[in-house]
Symmetry: none
DNA sequence: CTGTTTCTTGCATGAATAGGCAAAACATGC
DNA sequence: GCATGTTTTGCCTATTCATGCAAGAAACAG
């Protein structure tokens, strides 16, 4: 195994998990811990990670975001959903991705060697994609809302209006077969509606607790959902309702 | 087998796998490792791959290195500059902050209890400010440039045109008393000019190595600089030139 | 404070590499 | 055909590089 390969794998795991352990890497790569430590030292010197006792953590300005999110809720489920959702992608597509921790997990799960054009109003998603060399990243600016982690407002809407996408990864929403997709904030709903209007298909990845819940602001009908990515344990009855309205169900 | 044939096969495998091993290629082509190494050397000289011990990898699309490399450099100096620069702020002001690692340090140094309105086209700056409860953050979207860590383009310019600020923290630039403020990229320079035009004063914080250097694209004259934050060890003669054109000098 | 884990440093070893050299393959002109 | 010059290739040698090991230092946990 090339030294450079190890470095790349370490960078990848840092981007995905926010941390690496020296011993774990050593056994994974089949080299001594000394070698791994040397790797970590070099990467640290290049500013690509921050050395800590036992391993290393991401050092980028985005480390905080990544880490704080890791400590959040239902991380494993979201990572599984993300991996399944990424399976829907085809190289060369253009995407809208809006906010939410699941969407951030999806952004991190996008392979580094896939060429895509991605427009997002989420800082977390943008940060996760910032170092993907093959991703043409378009940041949708506007007034930043800390509670959502996304930009909203007239500027955001204007930027969305100029773009089109094959798929729209719609996140942080309520989901109900009867009421469709709903959002918790008026301005956020406006942006979601604009993205939905300008994209060919909507993809929604949700954990079970979001299924069959509704928020005040209506974004789109359930029949607008092209792909629904859910946990294996999702209630079959609910899924059938969405399926009957045209959604393809994908299990993580 | 023709030399050119081997070169093409090497390029093919690099595109497919991202790496090649010298020994493996030698046995596959039925030539000595020396010949393969010569091939790799030539291709590396032509910039088509990056030579590493044991073989070669796909040439770095620059993005990974450029920004993160810089972030590792002169961290302490930049932190000191940032603390001094933050001293110029007054609660209630509105700011433009553009890209560069020094500006990211400044963003991190902004006290959490200070109320400000901040517009930025830098993902790093935006991420640093995302959790400041009293900062009204406006993200200036556009096409993201990995090498700069900022958004540029028509969308960015349009967003800047709608805003005004008391201070503009101008970063990642060349600085020369005669040529003024210069940028390394045409689109970047455009955004900086727009921000300069719409702000009442320009603040520049630079490490010594940026002083008395010039880049291709002109942003503003030296007389446009209101505040110049420099290291204590900055050469006095250079500082005098800026001072005579109206800049206030602040030592970190 | 004590023991354990992790980290750095120096060193030895083997693999990979660059440069020099000569033979072979190839092209070119007579 | 023959002679000449060029290019390619493989081999040899000195050097550089990556790695693991050992010893001492530092960080951590109890």
């Amino acid at each position: 195994m090339l030294t450079e390969e190890r470095h790349q794998l370490i960078r990848d795991q840092l981007a995905a998990d926010g941390k690496v352990l020296a011993g774990e890497l050593a056994s994974r790569f089949g080299v001594s811990e000394d070698t791994v430590r040397r790797d970590l030292r070099e990467l640290a010197k290049a500013g690509q990670l921050r050395r800590v006792y036992g391993g290393a953590v991401a050092s980028a300005p985005f480390a905080a975001a990544t880490l704080s999110q890791r400590s959040g809720h239902a991380v494993e489920e979201k990572t599984r959903l993300a991996k399944a959702a990424v399976g829907l992608l085809v190289a060369g597509q253009s995407l809208f991705i809006d906010g939410g921790t699941t969407n951030e997990a999806i952004a991190r799960a996008i392979p580094r060697d896939m060429e895509l054009t991605i427009a997002t109003n989420s800082l977390g998603v943008a940060s996760a994609l910032a170092d993907r060399p093959l991703v043409e990243l378009i940041v949708l600016g506007g007034r930043y809302v800390p509670e959502l982690g996304t930009c909203v407002g007239a500027d955001t809407l204007a930027a969305v209006a100029q773009l089109g996408a094959d798929l729209f990864f719609l996140g942080s929403c309520g989901l109900d077969a009867a009421r469709g997709v709903t959002a918790f904030d008026s301005a956020e709903a406006e942006v979601k509606r604009a993205m939905a209007k300008n994209s060919a298909g909507i993809v929604i990845a949700v954990t079970n607790d979001k299924l069959a819940t509704a928020a005040p602001y209506r974004v789109a009908g359930a029949d607008a959902i092209r792909h629904l990515v859910v946990e294996k344990t999702a209630p079959a009855a609910t899924l059938a309702d969405f399926q009957s309205q045209g959604a393809q169900i994908h299990f993580a």
